[in-house]
Amino acid sequence: MSAHPVVVNQLGQRPSSPPADRLIVDAVSKSFGAVVALQDVTLSVGRGEILGLMGPNGSGKSTLVNVVSGVIRPAAGEVRLDAQVLTGHSPDRVARAGVARTFQNVRLFKGLSVSDNVVSVMGRRHPRGADARALELLDRLGIAHLRGARAGDLAYGLQRRLEIARALAADPFFLLLDEPAAGLNDVESADLEAAIRRVAVEGPTPCGVLIIDHDMRLMASICDRLHVLFNGRTIAEGGIEEVRRDPEVVAAYLGRS
């Protein structure tokens, strides 16, 4: 971390900025009218780490992703990349600073080819060229053979993979995955899990991953740590077993519904 405050204008100048080590959400609160979506939520993810953000529907998970990615401005608190403040910047600048995301309802560039989806968001020059880089990313997610197809024509599970490949093409330090396994069958979701782990932790430049889901089984198998929200508040955080046994988590998941 630099000792000097980061000049705001430098945000988004990826190639020259040093890689960030930690994505920090610091005491973020947000309400929509009378509904409290997030209340004083603090968490952080390191590079090479997979943090699971859990909670029942309406607990504030998606709001948190939107706050981190700059879509929603929080009422209080801030999001930082190391010492660099992201809050208050537009989503595209946040992305160029090194935070890429996927969407709960897949949002591909449907009319473009699979390969163009990936090429379009590349921010910097790649030594071996954009096409080679795209092929490499698509290959890592097992969809290289589909590179010429129209993205909107892919099967749903493959669209989810393409979305992750596209997010990686932006060269992120941190990846936000909003329900990456939603709508997938068991086999597909196991495949995707493996792909996410391969991509995030084992890649040449590992990034940190924040995964949102409410499926405890999936999350337990892929995440290093868990963070549980309920009604916009943090009710538990820590290792998998620790969180699983937490009485408040058990109550939130079983007690109410």
Binding site: A95, F103, L112, R125, R166
Partner: protein, 343 residues
């Protein structure tokens, strides 16, 4: 900035094929058909240039623009006034910069001047357009159209008001019109294959996702608008130097609508679509006009408004049958021997 070689290669192939077709069209009209249709060939080539110029912004951004008629007007008036003989100019237009007052520019200098003014105007308007919300832009371009028409129609010292300009020298030859149109289509293909063009297409497909992945919507739209404006100014200048005389009615909603109709019919999403639409509707219009003249000679009713009516009917049919236009919104796949990917 990352250029994709695959995209560049297919753009080059598309451009090459289109160039051959354009040469064919020009040659056919110039040498095979009657000399009178030579003028039709020039007119068609310029129309293709205008529609392709508009496509650069409208097609890649997915945002309809009525404002491009403004660049058409800027190109036409600047080139027209600059190329006119001072003796003819003086009693029509008085607000001429002093260095130009006692001379007239040749074809290329006039074109250059028109493009320079077009760049400035496109940059100025683009600065604002790029910063607007997507839903607002179409309205803003409509305002630009209205402003343009009224300025051109009322600024008598610079445009001769509603009387229009007469005595513009006819300097555009078929080969020059062909050359300029080939350059315009080349620029359009190159832009669509460029990183900025691809980003603009990404914002067309899903603006929220594009933003979330680091695409600056503002920047992509600005460059698309700028290039588009410049190309339309260029086509407008060539058009003026072919037209001899023109009036503000040329820069009205009807004319802009006709150009957009060509784009919609051919397919917004591709350069080849813009060309297809321009050719299809120009040929149709010419056929109907010939038919009307024949009817008039035989003394039957002339059916005024038939051209507009059939254009509208064709738009409706195309939008129902092929909503993405005749080319289906994509460049046609040209099957060439492809190198196998080395894996």
């Amino acid at each position: 900035m990352t250029w994709s070689r695959t995209r560049l290669r297919s753009a080059a192939v598309g451009w090459a094929v289109l160039t051959v077709l354009l040469i064919g069209i020009a040659g056919l009209a110039q040498f095979v058909l009657a000399p009178s249709t030579g003028r039709v060939a020039v007119q068609l080539l310029i129309t293709i240039g205008l529609v392709v110029g508009i496509q650069v912004f409208v097609g890649n951004s997915g945002i309809l623009s009525f404002g491009h008629v403004s660049f058409f007007a800027v190109g036409a008036y600047v080139a027209g006034v600059a190329a006119m003989k001072p003796s003819l100019r003086d009693f029509q237009v008085t607000a001429v910069p002093s260095w130009l007052a006692d001379r007239s520019l040749g074809f290329w200098p006039a074109l250059l001047l028109a493009v320079a003014v077009g760049v400035t105007w496109a940059a100025l308007t683009g600065f604002f357009v790029a910063r607007m919300k997507t839903t607002v832009i179409a309205m803003a371009t409509l305002a630009l159209l209205v402003v343009t028409f009224n300025v051109v129609n009322s600024w008598e010292s610079a445009t001769n008001g509603n009387q229009g300009l007469a005595g513009v020298p006819q300097l555009t030859s078929t080969s020059v019109a062909l050359g300029v149109t080939i350059v315009i289509t080349g620029a359009a293909y190159l832009f669509a294959a460029s990183p900025t063009g691809l980003r603009l297409q990404a914002t067309r497909e899903d603006e929220v996702a594009a933003r979330a992945l680091g695409v600056s919507v503002c920047r992509a739209r600005f460059w698309g608008w700028l290039l588009s404006g410049v190309l339309v100014s260029l086509a407008g200048a060539v058009w003026a130097l072919n037209a001899r005389a023109f009036a503000p009615s040329q820069f009205s909603f009807e004319e802009m609508f006709a150009l957009l109709a060509m784009l919609v019919v051919g397919g917004l999403g591709s350069v080849s679509g813009a060309v297809t639409g321009a050719v299809a509707l120009t040929v149709l219009t010419e056929l109907i006009r010939t038919g009307q003249e024949a009817l008039a000679e035989s003394g039957a009713a002339t059916l005024p408004g038939l051209i507009q009516l059939s254009t509208a009917a064709i738009i409706i049919v195309v939008l129902v049958v092929r909503p993405l236009g005749l080319t289906n919104g994509r460049e046609p796949r040209l099957s060439l021997p492809r190198r196998k990917a080395s894996t």
